[in-house]
């Protein structure tokens, strides 16, 4: 394990690296603009948005929020143990992080199957167009995050590993970004209309 470290107090080295934080802000702004557009559309079709929101199961949304939050906690613990040099606990928490992501995708898959079976697809109405576009775009991010975590997991376990703490921190920052995006999606899509 390469233990090259930098201080995150430096403006050029936020936890995970400056390039990743530029990506995080770009993603947050992109999702933010789309959510603002959704809220704006809801003012023109208040009844459609309210009735459509009631077709979603907010308990499923809350359960998925908890899965992502707990998964984010495991990721933070994994990074903390890596900084202490405890590789066994690092890999254990990485596995638990990935499990959280898989559970999220499993519940989302169940929800998608249910909505498709009921006919609430992409073109059903404006609300469901936003629902599918935003949640599917988020699911793609979770899938990419899982691929990154698998690659870091393999890298950390190697005896002659070139994976640095900064690499793991960067993958953690990407994973937490998925949490942040979901935290914005959940109340607006599932709760407020």
């Amino acid at each position: 394990m390469n233990k090259f470290t930098v201080t995150s107090k430096n403006i050029y080295y936020p936890p995970g690296g400056i390039l990743l934080w530029i990506i995080i802000f770009l993603e947050l702004i992109t999702f933010g603009i789309a959510l603002i557009a959704m809220v704006y559309s809801s003012k023109e079709q208040a009844a459609v948005f309210h009735e459509s929101r009631l077709l979603l199961n907010s308990t499923i949304g809350a359960v998925n929020t908890i899965f992502l939050i707990v998964s984010g906690f495991f990721m933070a613990e994994s990074v903390a143990y890596l900084k202490r040099g405890d590789l066994k606990k690092t890999t254990l928490f990485l596995k638990l992080t990935m499990l959280g992501g898989l559970l999220f995708l499993g519940v989302k898959g169940y929800e998608y199957a249910d909505k498709i079976a009921e006919g609430y697809t992409l073109g059903y109405n404006t609300f469901f167009t936003y629902y599918w576009m935003l949640t599917l775009f988020h699911v793609i991010h979770v899938l990419v995050g899982l691929v990154i975590l698998v690659s870091v997991f393999i890298g950390v376990r190697k005896k002659e590993s070139t994976t640095t703490i900064e690499d793991v921190e960067a993958s953690a920052a990407f994973w937490h970004m998925c949490d942040l995006i979901w935290l914005l999606l959940f109340p607006i899509i599932y709760l407020i209309f």
């Binding site: 603002i36 908890i66 939050i69």
Partner: protein
Amino acid sequence: MKKTKITLIILILLTVVSAFVSSTIGVYTALILLVLTAFKFIGISLVFMGLREAHPFWKGSILVFLLIFLGIVLMILQ
């Protein structure tokens, strides 16, 4: 590590509270939900992502984003 555990418990509680608040009908329901979201967002970014120990520029940037986003959403909802 103790702080991350306390944050986890608070975040789960806030999520459960959000789900309950959404089932009530009131003038301030949307406002309460968005404030709860803000607390969760801050918890994850400062504690889980480690921004608490980062340069103030990054902490400030994430808070400015959150304030602008929630401010616009609340303005449209009014």
